[in-house]
Symmetry: C2
Subunit: 257 residues, 2 copies
């Protein structure tokens, strides 16, 4: 994929940071020495980690140079490194592995999750929040729009870039033999002024692989067609606003031994 | 219904208090002068309110004398009053109306919710957490067991005592014209050692209206039959434990004007 856009991503920063904070609030570690923020984006989640764990050695990783640059500017004292979670490994066992809204871009969770737990020090924790919205209208309508003959030959199967996450029970089964597990799923209902705001929200993330293969003119057509479908799928509520349901899976696994 | 059992209710107090704390954490009030805990039970939620809002005048209400006695013992400085939420009204506008796991026992939410908002002072907030588990196996199997000819004539339609809550969008429509709304739904996955623990969890709440009409002997038969069905519906996970999914709806409405 082309590089990410930190400014666009940060437009809904309050909404995006809330799940990051709720995940962190449940992490059962008082003073981890080493913390890795896997897929740190523009550093909004890293900032939460740095605020809670002032004495920790914190490293943020991301595949995007633009996101890493934004994160370094935000937190000059933290180390940010370019790396892909699919290939990431730690030189030494880590106390806290934190992954906020990043594992949905990494394939093969049945192999990934035990590999991440194996990178933990005894007593260390893996904490992850993963968007689980592929079956929401917001995402189903991206795929529907992409099937339009104007776009289909160029876009192909854009949805293959996102990993369909496992069901909650499957994550539990992967984790429970190795760790104490805290598992929950929250659907947030975000009131947005208009359907176009849903487009803006997703433009920096879920829509990215759908738009990149298109010419600027076709991108505009794609977005107009997608927004038209959103208008119908998210009818105006009693106050005229649209309610975007956004389900997210949370898991915290504290390694035993 | 017969009176409630505070000791039984408190057996899973950590699990029951977590949603109460998560609800409170989102209440956007720094220093409310008056707080009412509607359906306070044994005072576990009231204790959270008293800890956050030390200067507030806090009143807890419940229909159960046993619960009120337990709450008074726990928090001697707080006022606890017997009253039914369906008939509750405030002498003066309230800054924070807090209802943790109580509104599911109150009928007619389309009338109830606006009535509660009307009891708020301008800028005041209604904060509610409502179990949304009637369609989970845990509750469907209560109804299935109650249909057994040994129990059906005595139990009748026990499920009528619980209110089937509205969908999220409907609460939004009720609230948004009056208030700023924060709405989310969390499903907690509780690992329990055995199916019998699910019975214990629900015995003090959801099972209550099913058991009360039965003789002690029939109660024992009912519980054995219900547990047998739970064994099948909640298969052992990789670590041998059962994973109880417990969905809960959260809403916070801050009154405008």
């Amino acid at each position: 994929m082309a590089d990410w856009n930190p400014a666009l991503y940060s437009r809904f920063e309050a909404e995006r940071t809330r799940p990051a904070a709720e995940l962190l609030a449940r992490v059962p570690l008082e003073a981890p020495r080493s913390v890795v923020d896997l897929g740190c984006g523009p550093g909004n989640s890293t900032e939460l980690l740095a605020r809670r764990y002032r004495a920790a050695r914190i490293v943020g990783t991301d595949t995007s140079e633009a996101m890493l640059a934004a994160a370094r500017e935000r937190l000059p004292a933290v180390t940010f490194e370019r790396s892909d979670i699919a290939e990431w490994s730690a030189a030494e066992p880590v106390d806290l592995l934190y992954a906020n809204a990043s594992l949905q871009w990494v394939p093969d969770h049945p192999r990934l999750i035990p590999r991440l737990v194996a990178a933990l020090a005894p007593g260390g924790a893996l904490a992850a929040q993963v968007p689980d919205n592929l079956d929401e209208p917001s995402h189903a309508l991206m795929r529907e729009t992409a099937a339009d003959p104007r776009f289909a030959p160029l876009i192909g199967d854009a949805s293959r870039l996102r990993t369909r996450i496992l069901c909650e029970r499957r994550y539990y089964d992967l984790l429970a033999p190795l760790a104490d597990v805290d598992l929950w799923r929250t659907t947030y209902y975000h009131p947005l002024d208009r359907a176009a705001d849903i487009v803006q929200w997703l433009r920096s993330t879920g829509l990215k692989p759908f738009l990149e293969p298109l010419t600027p003119e076709l991108q505009a057509h794609f977005l107009a067609e997608y927004e038209r479908r959103l208008e119908a799928a998210y009818p105006a509520r009693a106050d005229g606003r649209r309610l975007l349901a956004f389900p997210r899976l949370f898991l915290i696994a504290r390694r035993r031994d």
